[in-house]
Symmetry: C2
Subunit: 417 residues, 2 copies
């Protein structure tokens, strides 16, 4: 019988693992609760109307359709029976494994204030993105139609909480939307007057970037009209707005980009985890004491060179590649690989059109050229020629016409009903 590999989660880590196990002679089952692989680094562009949902999501089945050794299942995992070596699915039986790979990612976290989610949604899935898109667009629509001045001001105040790359990118594009794209379409309100606030509890924005790059991003955001408030924590989120260090700010649209919590894999495995729920793994990315179970990507707490590996796509892919190599070595009876080592390629973030920062460690870039490099790099990492073509057209179209392609209000609000 072939060696049975079960992979839970078709994100960057899981999919890379499956790809690198090509022709390894395994019987692979790839399980995800979604039918699509999502290119999360560009999800904020769906939330801000630049890209369509189908530009950055691909059916998992199609991605692996040429791989006869892979069976894809759309199912929700409820647990792992480590004794019987089976994954337990919801309403769909059990799947036995010889090797198990868990790469189920993370959700946003509210540090004990889960009730904030209703009014301050985070951004991890396509539905999160269309929810945020709807709220941003509806705020302008409501502001145009109502007469109450205070309510209008609250509708035209947009708060982004958390100033890592996602928060910075969201604030930058919302400001561009309000100040560059929407003004000529409204008759009663002046969308130039929209207020976009970027709030960060830490002492500066983009803490993972060098100080001069963060400084450039700060001035580029300010130039776009974004108000930056650092060093003070948000102490409440509600339908009225936020409370920032005791000061209430009336805002109808709040977006959470401040923290993540790993998926519940920890509980399935009854494993040791860090504060964010990430499973602590051995230096070969397996569960201590159970080397046939790998935990990868945002679900795992991985250390390399004494430092924690960041939760970004390249790190997840490297872990997928490492796990595939380890499985191959074991099947071939070869000696174990050296411990996993993360190789950091760099950090990228955009602030808006013609403004990006790239930190390669030894050297860095900022401004217009960095923005083009950022764009080309992201197009390169998309899956398939069609998506590359479509995203390129959408970006160039927006660049030259000043119009975004996906300004749709659809569905009911997922959280507010």
């Amino acid at each position: 019988m072939k060696h049975r590999v079960v992979v839970v989660g078709a994100g960057f880590a899981g999919l890379q693992m499956v790809r690198d196990l090509k022709a390894a002679g395994c019987d692979i089952t790839l399980i995800d609760q979604r039918n699509h692989h999502l290119f999360q680094p560009l999800l904020y562009q769906v939330a801000t109307t630049l890209l369509a949902t189908s530009d950055i999501a691909w059916p998992i089945r199609r991605v692996v359709s040429s791989r006869k050794d892979v069976t894809t299942l759309l199912a929700t995992v409820e647990g792992v029976d480590r004794e019987k070596r089976e994954v337990i699915l919801k309403d769909a039986g059990r799947v036995p494994f010889d090797t198990l790979v868990i790469a189920t990612g993370a959700r946003h976290a509210y540090f004990g204030n889960d009730h904030w989610e209703v009014d301050a949604p985070g951004l991890k899935t396509l539905e999160d993105a269309t929810t945020i898109r709807r709220r941003i667009l509806m705020a302008f629509e409501r502001a145009e139609i109502i007469d109450d001045e205070a309510e209008r001001e609250a509708l035209m105040t947009f708060v982004v909480i958390g100033a890592g790359p996602t928060g910075v990118e969201l604030a930058g594009i919302i400001a561009e939307l309000a100040h560059r794209i929407l003004p000529r379409e409204f008759r009663r309100i002046d969308t130039h007057r929209a207020r976009v606030m970027l709030v960060e509890a830490g002492k500066r924005i983009l803490p993972s970037f060098k100080e001069d790059l963060a400084g450039y991003a700060t001035s580029a955001l300010r130039k776009r009209g974004v108000e930056i408030r650092t060093g003070k924590p948000v102490t409440d989120c509600s339908a009225d707005g936020i409370v920032l260090d005791g000061e209430p700010v009336a805002a109808r649209t709040i977006i959470w980009a401040a923290g993540v919590q790993a998926s519940p894999a920890r509980e399935w495995l009854d494993a040791e985890a860090d504060k964010a729920g990430r499973v602590k793994v051995s230096e070969n990315l397996t569960l201590p004491g159970d080397p046939a179970i790998f935990v990868l990507g945002d679900t795992a707490h991985v250390e390399s060179g004494g430092r924690q590996v960041p939760g970004i796509a390249p790190a997840a892919k490297q872990q997928g590649t490492y796990a595939a190599r380890t499985i191959r070595a074991r099947l071939a009876g070869k000696p174990a690989q050296p411990p996993f080592r993360y190789s950091h390629m760099g950090d990228l973030a955009t602030v808006g059109q013609n403004a990006a920062i790239i930190d390669f460690g030894r050297f860095s870039m900022k401004g217009r050229l960095a923005w083009w490099v950022w764009g080309v790099a992201h197009i390169y990492f998309l899956i398939g020629a069609r998506s590359r073509l479509m995203v390129s057209i959408s970006w160039l179209w927006s660049y030259f016409s000043g119009q975004n392609s996906a300004r749709l209000i659809t569905q009911k609000d997922k959280l507010r009903g």
Copy 2:
């Protein structure tokens, strides 16, 4: 003070009216409960994964952004105060008018069986389309994962009720999806074995087309594996499937393409209507006894040359143009136009790749050439160069690669929860 024109509904009729009132010196308010104009003739392609939602929907504000005489409001109309000459909005006050244009379209109708909607949704909005898309894709996913043979057969049975152009187009593309696009992606089920049924109570499919064209469509559908059942009514729809003239057919996916009911404008106006709720209008498209109120498109029962004008996009546009001309003539103090006359351009329908029928009255086309003409005609009618480019690419991509671009399962099911 400028003449105040209030237009309710930014579909084909309403938008055409607004366009044709350019520089007429009116103060126009365009009200819709959606933020987008929808190209309904291609909605079935969103439901069947060929096109993305943003390919066929445009923000109404953007479409009229250059028109300083137009104010767009996203609001729901609750009624019309004919005495005070005001439109009553839900939670947003009232809008006074001198001339009122109602063009609010239609919804699908179940002829007294409204409870069928949960299991047999119709296709009128983007949400309808993503709901149907989700059900089709989920049926294959569930079939792949379960063990019960009878349930698998029900999951792989797709029933389309109603064989007008929309029903024919849906059945044709679902068959192509099952037989041409999906087979190599599933490992446990053979999607070639999916059953697609097209059910029509009337004696033949496509009753508005000439008999030989309908005959061609019948054989093209059969070639694609579609089962056609005519002459027998559906007597029940439920989660189990349909009952067709006493015979139960187990099916988990049912799509309703059998009937429409006009929007509630009739009640707002307290006007006389036909059986489908369409307001009966005078020969100049206004309400009998109230010539300042126009009712257009699918909301109106319009006669031309002794026959009822069909509920298709070109007819709606012609009515919009006629209403705009009438308003201009009145403002200029010119004599009234002759009564509205509908000019029928032809009927088009596709069955699938390389198979379409076009009925121009005097001559007709079918097959591959008709399919290309159909495609070029539809691209021409889209709004803006970007959509034309994107839809062209999506179609050509699908044509040459055998892959559809928007195979996403998103959101919860609108009706089933």
